[in-house]
């Protein structure tokens, strides 16, 4: 899993910092950590990013993260959701893995491992 480039979209800095730590512990490289949907989209639009995966919170300060998920899907980049919502409508994304919050390190590791297989 070493060297994989992972993007994070998470509106709470505290939580984002932990996810960054966990990914770094897994040997991944955090390639962009964003607190707003627009910033993440701008990063993806830039075209310079080469991502191996992404961890997306669903509700980003009241905005839904789905446009980012669609952009990632269009690029063929695998991703997982990390959310505190027990059951959230995810029309079109029913097959995407959901990590619940608080985040279980083992589940995150499995998800990152899954990115490798998909790539």
């Amino acid at each position: 899993m070493s060297g994989r480039r992972i993007m994070i979209v998470e509106d709470e800095a505290l939580v984002a910092m932990m996810v960054e730590d966990l990914l770094t512990d897994l040997g991944c490289e955090v390639s962009g950590s964003f607190g707003a949907v627009g910033e993440a989209l701008a990063y993806l639009d830039d075209g310079k990013s080469s991502l191996d995966g992404a961890v997306l919170d669903i509700n980003i300060g009241g905005e839904m993260v789905f446009p980012v998920a669609e952009a990632l899907r269009a690029k063929g980049v695998p991703f997982v959701f990390a959310t505190g919502y027990g059951a959230l409508p995810r029309k079109g994304f029913e097959d995407v893995t959901v990590l619940s919050k608080p985040i279980n390190f083992g589940h995150l590791r499995d998800a990152v491992h899954g990115f490798g297989q998909a790539a």
């Binding site: 709470e12 505290l14 939580v15 607190g35 707003a36 509700n59 505190g84 027990g86 608080p102």
Partner: protein, 383 residues
Amino acid sequence: MLDMAEHDLSDGEDDSALLTLVETIEELSATRTIDEVAAVVRSSARRISGADGVAFVLRDNDCCWYLDEDAIGPLWKGKRFPLTACISGWSMLNRQTVVIPDIYQDDRIPHDAYRPTFVKSLVMTPVRTRDPIAALGAYWAKEHTPPPEIVAKLQVMARATAAALESGRLHASLNKELERRTFLMRELDHRVKNTLASVQSIASQTLRTAASPQAFNESFESRLLALSQAHELLTKQAWGKAHLREILAAAMRPFGGLEDGRFVVEGPPIEITPEAAVAVHMTLHELIVNAAKYGALSVPTGSVSVAWRIEDAGGLHPTFALEWRERGGPPVAPPEPKDEGFGSRLIRRGLSRDLGGAAVLDFAPEGLTFTFRAPLSQRLAAA
């Protein structure tokens, strides 16, 4: 014997009419919408009154709205008339039942509207007498005075209709309340889980740099309390926006509060959304703890000034600029990068991440200075 037989027969008729009325009341009590009420009234009112036609009229502001009817010939279904220009309006405005044996002898009747119809006599009774919301009309093709028991039955039906409309309204508001509760429970679940994730983050990051279990415990507890204060402040605002000055006051409280003479705060009112307020609170907490442990607040002669302003206010790019300046403390030395803990990481990155700005920590020997600049946004705005 004959008398008895006649008596039995009329009793039987009464019983069957009474049963129809009771059944209608039961049907009305099971309705949930105005259309369902109208359907019951249409199917039963004529049977109960023995009239040649019935109409169910709703009050729609200043109009009578002939919602539905069941009659031997067409009446006014779907039409609206001013309250003052029809007998259903008169009945609703005067809150009383009206019996008209010959409509063409009564000035309250708009004769032109009746001429195309079969109607010669009528009974009109308001629904919900104290404040009518509808009316029930029964019409006959002959001139006659409808018997009092027919009028009474129509009035009973009107009362049952009023109760049905009220209960439908109650049902709708109850449903709305239940939906709201479900929504709130889901939001609560979401917030609790996010908060637990924040606690998880604080714990794991505090652990990474803690020198000993005691040091971990001290820092973790202090951060947990700061998080708790941040939440208390948000709850007080009903999870609405928080004022920067209030956040600062809450974060400062465990260290003597803003009244402590060593603390100078200055700036215009600034509002911060709940999502960002937690990070602002935690960042200020880390700055204060650092100042109390190693900086200007660790000695009686030190002071901290926190000043903020809006630059280019009203311009194209209004910017929020904050400066935290410590003076009079012990000489400051920048920490080794490997020692960078949760605090300085949060101070450097937390705010800029959540508010889309830039944070700079300057470890000048005469005192630490923290500057933060961010564009005004939906998350951070002048109050």
